[in-house]
């Protein structure tokens, strides 16, 4: 089985995030890492291989992003993916989900031209833009069925059965390869790379492709080709000081209840 896991390089959520002058996320001047939500996808791909021992399962980590984004691929390789493909091209900067899904789909087609791809896996969303639409767009572009937001993944042969937890109901959805599968953060903690995994990753194949390698024109992507653009950004206001209730005359409890009621907690 040939699995492609899409991994995104995102700004470290614990550090300050910055925006460029065109309101796109600054991905170059800040520390970044493999999106935590995509780690779950890598983990599920690795578990799939472990569960289906004896089958020839190859896992490719695919990333679209600036040069530094290779770190996201490297992390996936350290965790256990077999090879990496990095699509990097200045023209891609500022691409929205629609444009990014085009690049991913074309890269996936090029990977598939060498060896048929059975499964495309993604996280449930990115931790920066949080659009959560790439899996659906990829499925549309690749003309594949999509099974999204899986919290439990089981498979037998070409049939995949997943649990999909909604607000009001839990669905069991079945799909057949080839397909696009996105997994949630409920699928199980991602493993740490092992020291030997870190060493082995240095020797794993990692290809770097430009847009021209995957047959995408520069004017099909980037900020100017995007259907959506961020008009402005505003930092979240600093936290305001809490309200202190002093119980001097026995009215403290009432004041507390009033406060909770005013915030609709009770």
């Amino acid at each position: 089985m040939n699995i492609v896991v899409c991994v995104k390089y995102v700004p470290d959520a614990t550090a300050d995030r910055q925006f460029e002058s065109d309101n796109t996320v600054d991905r170059v001047g800040v520390d970044g890492l493999l999106s935590e939500l995509d780690e779950y996808a890598v983990e599920q791909a690795l578990q799939l291989r472990e569960k289906r021992e004896g089958e020839d399962i190859e896992i490719t980590a695919l990333c679209v992003g600036p040069e530094k984004a290779v770190d996201a691929i490297r992390k996936a390789l350290q965790m256990g993916a077999d090879k990496g493909v990095h699509v990097v091209d200045d023209a891609i900067a500022g691409s929205d989900s629609v444009a990014t899904s085009l690049v991913l789909a074309k890269a996936r087609e090029k990977i598939g031209a060498e060896k048929k791809v059975d499964l495309v896996m993604t996280g449930m969303a990115s931790t920066d833009a949080s659009m959560s639409v790439i899996p659906a767009m990829l499925a549309e572009r690749l003309e594949l069925p999509q099974v999204t937001f899986a919290s439990v993944v089981e498979s037998q042969g070409e049939v995949f059965r997943v649990r999909r937890d909604g607000d009001t109901a839990t669905e069991i959805v079945e799909g057949r390869l080839p397909m696009v599968l996105s997994v949630t953060d409920q699928t199980g903690e991602a493993r740490y790379p092992s020291f030997k995994g870190i060493m082995a990753a240095k020797k794993k194949p990692l290809e770097t492709w430009a847009l021209s390698d995957i047959g995408v024109e520069a004017d099909q992507v980037g900020l100017s080709a995007s259907w959506t653009a961020v008009e402005g950004t505003e930092a979240r206001p600093p936290r305001t000081q809490g309200e202190i209730v002093t119980d001097e005359d026995g009215s403290g409890a009432t004041a507390l209840v009033d406060f909770l009621a005013s915030k609709k907690f009770i």
């Binding site: 740490y192 020291f195 030997k196 870190i198």
Partner: protein
């Protein structure tokens, strides 16, 4: 404040980054509760094993990480800075693999070493006895040859991971001390699996600190051990044990350095926040100097430990330096952790802050793996011997 580290290779730097992440995300959040409830964190050792952190100083061909001591000890220090029990356990595991890795036959190594170094099994080291700690040659546990087996009878005290380990590296007497010539002769080394019949653990010791590290007496009640599980020659056991301890001391020096660093970090954070007489207490010279001395003590311990490690890595004698490192690092850890309690004042004396625990943990480090009095004895003897030899000390470049 994590230490600035200069590492010999890129892979070592990546290793230390991985260790820091695991320490920060997995060890630090669990330490206080496990120590409070005296719970042995087997799952943490499983995690360290999966990350290939339990066999670091052993050759890759044997299933280890192929790292020099200079790197391995910095890993131990990082672990020790968040959780001494796990640092000590990691060091003891490495110690328990030492005999097989250095004195075993290729067949023995091929058979048992990969899973010991691979981290799926946890080891323990049985040398001390109730009446014989500093003087292991006085041990009484016997191993009597019976056909293809040895039969082990006796009790081993202060066994770290006693009752929790998967294998025990055991020193036992194969011949009577009086008939064996040199002192310490007649002792042999055995690799005993935890499920061997007749092997049992007493109730765990009720210790002052390191509650997350189980310490127990192991009883050998006619335990049959196949002769193929004897490591090294008959009578070679004490030499193996003492060689292992030279390396083990470096491990403890590193953990003690980490412990002191952890205590200093806690004291520093408090001293920068807490105010008295209208300014932060770090700005009062009396407290500032305490912290400065603590920093000097931590850096001294680290430098000495890494110096000894580099001698070992270069294949030079390092026994004296290992003893100095153990002595300096553990005495410094005792001082720094005690001062950390002082910096936090009344809060430092409560169990709501970690520094009182650090202070209790530091005490045992002056005692185990050779008391600090024994370290001084080793240093004095080696000075005496070195003066006789009269040769120039070596000057050697890296890689020579």
């Amino acid at each position: 404040m994590p230490a600035t580290r200069v590492l010999p290779t890129d892979e070592a730097a990546e290793l230390l980054r991985l260790v820091r992440q695991i320490v920060r995300e997995q060890l630090a959040p669990r330490a206080a509760e496990a120590e409070e409830t005296a719970s042995f964190p087997r799952e943490v050792f499983t995690l360290l094993g999966e990350a290939d952190l339990l066999g670091l100083p052993y050759p890759e061909a044997q299933g280890g990480g192929g790292q020099p001591y200079e790197v391995y000890l910095q890993v131990l220090e990082e672990i020790g800075s968040a959780w001494s029990s796990v640092g000590v356990g990691t060091s003891v595991h490495a110690l328990s693999c030492f005999a097989l890795a250095n004195y075993g036959t290729p067949e023995q190594q091929e058979r048992w070493l990969p899973e010991m170094l691979g981290g799926s099994l946890l080891g323990a080291y049985c040398l001390s006895e109730a009446h014989a700690g500093s003087d292991p040659a006085a041990m009484r546990t016997k191993a009597v040859r019976d056909g293809d087996d040895y039969v082990l009878t006796g009790a081993k005290a202060w066994v770290t991971h006693g009752g929790e380990a998967d294998f025990y590296t055991v020193m036992a007497r194969t011949s009577d001390p009086s008939s064996s010539g040199p002192k310490g002769g007649g002792i042999s080394c055995f690799l005993v699996p935890a499920d061997a019949e007749g092997l049992s653990a007493d109730a765990a010791e009720r210790k002052m600190g390191l509650m997350g590290s189980t310490t127990a007496t192991m009883r050998f009640d006619g335990v049959r051990v196949p002769a193929e599980r004897r490591i090294g020659e008959e009578g070679q056991g004490l030499r193996i044990a003492l060689a292992a301890l030279d390396s083990g001391r470096l491990g403890i020096a590193a953990v003690a350095t980490g412990l002191a660093q952890g205590a200093l970090d806690a004291a520093l954070a408090y001293a920068r926040e807490r105010e008295a007489f209208g300014k932060r207490i770090i700005d009062h010279q009396g407290l500032g100097f305490v912290l400065a001395d603590a920093e000097a003590a931590v850096q001294t311990a680290r430098a000495m430990t890494l110096h000894a490690a580099r001698l070992k890595d270069a294949g030079l004698p390092f026994s004296r330096e290992a003893s100095i490192a153990k002595l300096v690092a553990t005495d410094n850890a005792m001082k720094v952790t005690t001062d950390a309690v002082q910096v936090l004042g009344g809060y430092g004396y409560t169990r709501d802050f970690p520094v009182e625990r650090y202070m209790r943990e530091a005490k045992v480090m002056q005692i185990f793996e050779g008391t600090n009095q024994i370290q001084r004895m080793i240093i004095a003897r080696s000075l005496d011997k070195g003066a006789d030899a009269g040769s120039d000390a070596e000057i050697r470049a890296y890689g020579d």
